[in-house]
């Protein structure tokens, strides 16, 4: 019977991370890039939780939850970041009538 080990989690996280990075690299839509960032962050969350669970679970009486707490922090920060980013994109859209990041070349030398 297959047991789910740390490796599985790491592979899943790496896959999601790669998907996120590729999204950031290839998407021209700013919203899409934001989604990619979310994927990258969530991949990190999975890693954090997985490492915590498999490496430092603590005792059942006193479980160690450092990774999980980190993950929650990251989710909160990601929400804040998404809010800021969406505000930026909104402004961007107002100025350029698009959310294509390729068009953000105003400060080009």
């Amino acid at each position: 019977m297959l047991t789910i080990t740390l490796t599985h989690y790491l592979v899943l996280a790496a896959t999601i991370f790669a998907a996120g990075v590729l999204t950031i690299m290839l998407k021209r839509n700013a919203i899409g890039i934001l989604m990619g960032v979310e994927l990258v962050l969530n991949a990190a969350n999975i890693n954090l939780v997985a490492f915590n669970y498999f490496q430092h679970p603590g005792t059942p009486a006193q479980p160690l939850l450092t990774g999980q707490i980190f993950a929650i922090f990251i989710i909160v920060i990601a929400a804040a970041e998404a809010a800021v980013a969406l505000a930026i994109f909104l402004n961007f859209y107002n100025n350029f009538a698009t959310v294509d990041v390729e068009r953000a070349t105003e400060m080009r030398g």
């Binding site: 990075v21 950031i24 690299m25 290839l26 998407k27 021209r28 890039i33 990041v101 390729e102 953000a104 070349t105 105003e106 400060m107 080009r108 030398g109």
Partner: protein, 734 residues
């Protein structure tokens, strides 16, 4: 107390002021006002002239002015000519000047009033009156001029005004061409005038009229074998006379420089009335009258021949013209021919008398034509007229008076002046026969007499075709109307055409001019510097005292010139009486025959002439006359084509030789420059641009990745991070 001279100065300057005013402010004054201002000024000028005339007539015998004592003469030294000689400027005012002033300003005033109506719709209304003012000033200046040079200046000024006014509607190609044609043909004549002046200045160092009369006054009685008069040989004097006459030929539209006058009809009709019939074209006659004592018998014979040719030519061509203004233009040419003929046969008073009467009745005819043209919406072709006396009764009446006057009907002014010229022509013929000269001298009487019939005929034809019969263009006919501003001047001029004969003593008045000149020159006031040669006066060259008679008499009593006519008092009336009888016999009924024939022929409009035109020879003759003997075409073939060929050759020379040299030099320079340029580009520029380009390349290289492309940054970041990680793993791994 203003003197006549001051009044004439005022009369001369008023139109100039008006012209200046209208040039500057005319546009702001607006439509009726600008014309009214011009009219008021010229009316003031007329008032001053008439007052001057009245004063002139009423001077006490001991006054320094006026016909009692001689002319008003005032000269100022102008250009030093070396030694004691100066070129003068000044005025010479005598009865002729006064009469011309009165005539010109009166006609001009009526023409101004007429123009108020005629030009009312024109876009350049104010400019028209400004030009008219300038013209009046120039013409009056010409009349007062005391020296030939001064006269030449004003002569050119009237030519300029004529040019401006012929080409007034310059949007029309034909008008601007006609203006240029008039200008150029007048230049041809002016060359002669200028050469004549130049010869006089070269020999005498002055051009003052009284001085010239005094020094060269013997010319009229000279024979080719005579010794020099005033330092001139007979040949030189003849050449000078003919040179000056060439100027008059151009200005007065005599053959062979006549072709511009018919084309000048492109100008507005008031201009034709004032300039191209009454005043400017008469300036040539005036000039000839002023230089009359300097003309040798041969010069006068040429003048008479030119005059008689022109008057015959003009009348023949006027017979078949269909454009109403062209009829009048050729008629003007013909009448000017009478005046020039009169000068040539020595009828000084006759020429100027006819000038004055002609000014009135011809401007009347032109203004009448203008009234018709205005009423017919600028249709000038008589084939479109007919029956207009019912629509334009006052115009037709005034025009009829003009026709009757020009036809030489007794009690109308034209009769007296024309019969005076014809009488003198007859006297000339008698004298020539008595002298045993060629029978051809009689032509100088026969042709003008025959033309008197033609004149009556073609003018009556003009009236019949315009005002009688049935309307040939009903649409235009129904529109035709006349207004008071148009016909009032006609009535004024009609009155003048009737009375401007002996009724107001024009002939006597002009005779005064001869007496004044004679008295003035005898008074010794002319110039102390040169002793008088032999002044023979103006009237000593009358046909009755022919050169040979006078010469033999002159030799016999060489000092008794002034009253030299006295010994012949018993023969003079004889010749003149015979001449008058001849004139009476042949020319008296010209008006009746001409007008009657015209009424008979044109009673039914063109019907009879169209029948006649079916006969081939008649048709050919009519075409020939209609095209004015094809002289225009001849000139085109001779002069214009030659000028064109020369121009073409010049252009070719310019294109291939001049341009070739220039282009060659330019090409050489260009090639040298190319070499220099190459050196510059590859040696100097390389260094400079090399440095610049290096900086640019580095900049570009550095700039390229910083394109603001987020995805590129992310990719680079990721690749570098991966790479760094790989190295780290590798290092740690080892």
């Amino acid at each position: 107390m203003p003197t006549p001279a001051l009044l004439l100065l005022l009369a001369t300057l008023l139109p100039l002021i008006s012209a200046g005013l209208l040039m500057g402010l005319g546009k702001r004054m607006g439509r009726p006002l600008a014309g009214v201002v011009g009219t008021v000024f010229i009316a003031g000028s007329m008032t001053a002239s008439l007052v001057a005339m009245a004063m002139w007539l009423n001077v006490p015998p001991d006054s320094p002015y006026g016909s009692g004592q001689g002319p008003v003469v005032q000269f100022l030294r102008w250009l030093p000519m070396g030694g004691e000689s100066y070129l003068d400027v000044g005025v010479y005012i005598d009865s002729l000047t006064i009469a011309m002033f009165a005539t010109i300003t009166t006609v001009a005033t009526f023409v101004h009033i007429f123009s108020l109506g005629y030009m009312a719709d024109d876009a350049r209304f104010h400019r028209f009156f400004a030009y008219l003012g300038l013209f009046c000033f120039s013409m009056l200046g010409l009349i007062t001029a005391g020296t030939l040079l001064q006269m030449f200046v004003f002569w050119e000024l009237v030519g300029l005004c004529s040019y401006l006014l012929i080409g007034f509607w310059y949007e029309r190609k034909s008008a601007s061409n006609a203006a240029m044609k008039a200008f150029i043909m007048n230049r041809v004549g002016d060359v002669g005038f200028l050469v004549g002046i130049g010869l006089l200045v070269y020999h005498l160092c002055h051009t003052s009229l009284p001085l010239l009369w005094m020094q060269l006054g013997g010319a009229g009685t000279m024979a080719p074998t005579d010794a020099a008069a005033g330092g001139f040989s007979y040949l030189t004097l003849t050449i000078i006379g003919l040179c000056l006459f060439l100027g008059a030929v151009g200005k007065s539209a005599q053959i062979p420089l006549h072709t511009w006058l018919a084309d000048a009809m492109e100008g507005p009709t008031p201009v034709s009335a004032l300039i191209h019939s009454a005043t400017m074209v008469a300036a040539g006659v005036y000039l000839m009258a002023r230089v009359f004592p300097m003309l040798t018998p041969d010069a006068k014979l040429v003048i008479a021949i030119v005059g008689v040719t022109t008057l015959t030519f003009g009348a023949l061509v006027a017979l078949v013209q269909n454009d109403i203004k062209r009829v009048l233009a050729y008629s003007t040419m013909s009448q000017l021919g009478y005046m020039i003929l009169a000068i040539g046969i020595g009828s000084w008073v006759g020429a100027l008398f006819h000038l004055v009467t002609h000014a009135f009745f011809k401007s009347l005819l032109f203004l009448g034509a203008g009234s018709v043209i205005h009423a017919m919406h600028h249709e000038q072709d008589m084939r479109q007229y007919g029956g207009l006396s019912r629509r334009l009764p006052i115009t037709s009446l005034a025009f009829a008076i003009g026709v009757i006057a020009i036809a030489g009907t007794p009690f109308f002014s034209g009769y007296y002046s024309k019969s005076m010229i014809l009488t003198h022509a007859a006297a000339y013929g008698i004298a020539a026969e008595g002298e045993g000269r060629a029978w051809a001298n009689w032509l100088l009487f026969i042709l003008p007499t025959a033309v008197a019939f033609l004149t009556a005929f073609y003018m009556a034809r003009c009236w019949m075709l315009t005002f009688a019969g049935r309307p040939r263009n009903v649409r235009l006919y129904n529109d035709a109307q006349e207004s008071w501003v148009i016909y009032t001047p006609l009535l004024g001029l009609a009155m003048m055409s009737i009375i401007a004969g002996p009724h107001i003593g024009v002939g006597h008045f002009l005779n005064g001019s001869i007496r004044e000149a004679t008295r003035y020159i005898e008074s010794g006031r002319v110039a102390p510097l040169a002793p008088p040669a032999r002044f023979a006066g103006f009237d000593s060259h009358w046909p009755v005292v022919l050169p040979t008679d006078l010469r033999t008499r002159g030799n016999a009593e060489s000092n008794a010139i002034p009253e030299a006519d006295q010994p012949e008092t018993d023969t003079v009336p004889d010749t003149l009486e015979v001449a008058a009888a001849l004139e009476h016999l042949w020319a008296y009924w010209a008006f009746a025959v001409g007008i009657g024939l015209a009424i008979a022929v044109y009673f039914r409009g063109y019907a009879l002439t169209q029948h006649l035109a079916r006969i081939a020879p008649v048709r050919h003759a009519m075409t020939f006359l209609e095209n004015a003997f094809y002289i225009d075409r001849l000139y085109r073939a001779i002069f214009v084509s030659v000028a064109r060929t020369v121009a073409f050759l010049c252009s070719a020379f310019d294109k291939y030789v001049v341009d070739g040299v220039v282009n060659g030099v330019a090409g050489l320079t260009r090639h040298l420059s190319t070499l220099a340029g190459l050196a510059d580009r590859y040696l100097v520029d390389r260094a400079v641009t090399g440095a610049g380009e290096a900086a640019l390349n580095i900049g570009a290289a550095v700039r390229a990745p910083q394109a603001g492309r987020i995805r590129l940054y992310v990719t680079a970041l990721l690749l570098l991070a991966t790479f760094a990680l790989a190295i780290a793993v590798y290092l740690i791994g080892t």
